[in-house]
Amino acid sequence: MLHRLSKNRGMPAAAIETENLSKEYPYGFLNLKKRMSLENLNLRVESGEVFGFLGPNGAGKSTTIKLLMRLIFPTSGRARILGKSIEDVSTHQVVGYLPEQPYFYDYLTAAELLDYFARFHRLTASDRRERIERMLKKVGLETAKRIQLRKYSKGMLQRVGMAQAILHQPEVVVLDEPMSGLDPLGRREVRDIILELKREGRTVLFSTHILSDAEMLCDRVGVIVGGKLRGVGTPGEMVGMRTQGMEILFEVEGAAKKFALMDRATRTGERYRVEVSEGELYGALNELNSVGARVLSVAQIKPTLEDFFMHLVEADRAQASAVEVSGK
């Protein structure tokens, strides 16, 4: 893995680094009003890690990615990829990008499209041919390579998009909603590709709504809500911020007499399920023992990344409505 030095810190350069990156869009009559889409984003994605960028629609995920790919320009702030400013086009020799809901030249076949894009990376004709064959096989399009893209389904276009993003073996791969439009098989293939990129030591930044994919694939995740980065950490760290107690599953023989814990329990068939706090656990187990209930399992309730994500989104909405009510 290459080690580049960050310009201002004297430490190995991050694969992706942003400093107070902001973007506001004008709107309204004569574009006089401004809407902040991204606010002072400070993000560091280390070399070789898979970083998941999570957030609801309109949170600023795609804005960030478009800024990094210089499809739009920041209102303020800076960004660097592998230590070089994103203004430097040569950086894109080692960057791969899959746009959200990609659409390509529909008069080209998949093989022609990949060849067209590969030519910008100065690959020789034989190298291009060999890589295109391999890549189309990897994304499951080898039998459709001679069909014009106008006849492709959304999922097939997504696969072509994935192929063009990694064809030139980039050091940094940026994927905007890579699972979007894919069936379960396609999603699994994309997951496998991301894991393969990680094994090869490449850096992957991807945005997603599908939190289970992020939990499964990411070394770290960042959650962005309302244009602000609300947290960065490993999926474990993110969900470990809040504990949700213990879950007890038990059975009661015959028509047992009522006891206090039973009122709080949910019955499914012969089984009962109850949630208690960690402090209540031993008292609850003693009570079950005293009434002759059979404890089937005791497990910690682990909050998922989705719980954490929803918690942040709801907090942001509550804050937004509070501001609205106060008229600020």
Binding site: M69, L71, F73, V89, H92, Y97, L108, F120, A165
Partner: protein, 258 residues
Amino acid sequence: MKNVWIVATNTFREAVRDRVLYNLVFFALLMMGAAIVVGQISIGIEQTVIVSLGLAAISLIGLFIAVFIGVGLVSKEMDKRTLYALLAKPVKRWEFLLGKYAGLVMTLTVNTGAMAVGLYAALWAVKHPLVPADAYVFVAVYLILLKLALIVALAMLFSCFTTPFLAILFTAGMYVAGVFAYDLRTIQAINLNPATVRMVRAISYLLPNFQNFNVTGAVAHARGVPGTLVVHVTLYTLVYSAVVLTGASAVFSRRNLK
């Protein structure tokens, strides 16, 4: 410049696959019909009628392609978001713009060249054999091609900062105004005050002077075209297009894609 060439060849391929060159069938039918009709009804003016008709058709068909496809070169890529993946490659925005321009000029060259061959065939059919003076028809076609190249540059400039509909209107407006640029320069209106006349003249010098590109009248009557005119119009096209494309590039280079 390698990137410009890559984009240009793909733009040409797009035009071919989108059946832009199918207009040649229409032109061929027009020329065949004209050759048959002219051969029967005109006596002694076959050359004038065929050359006038042929050059007018080449110019008109070329204008449609230059304006409508020229405007769509950039706006279509932005609307369909095909540009996203491309601009994430090591391609500068001006390289993309110049490549699209070169690709359409390449398409127009092939199209205009094929129509010129059709025109010569029709001319040969009505007055064979061809004579050396007929070579001036080629000069007229060359000047039409230069005019189209300039119009494509204008279409691209407008499409970089406004909607496709307005870009078409602006390009067509510039063309019409450019056709009358010389008249504006020599305006002698007695009921206009001198300041207005000076302003109109100043504006006329900014407009592309398309009158210089039109030698149809002379060529249709088998008169020659001065070499100096061809050189001047060529240089004028190069400089004017370069300025317009530089402006387009400056606008496009800072444009946020939606």
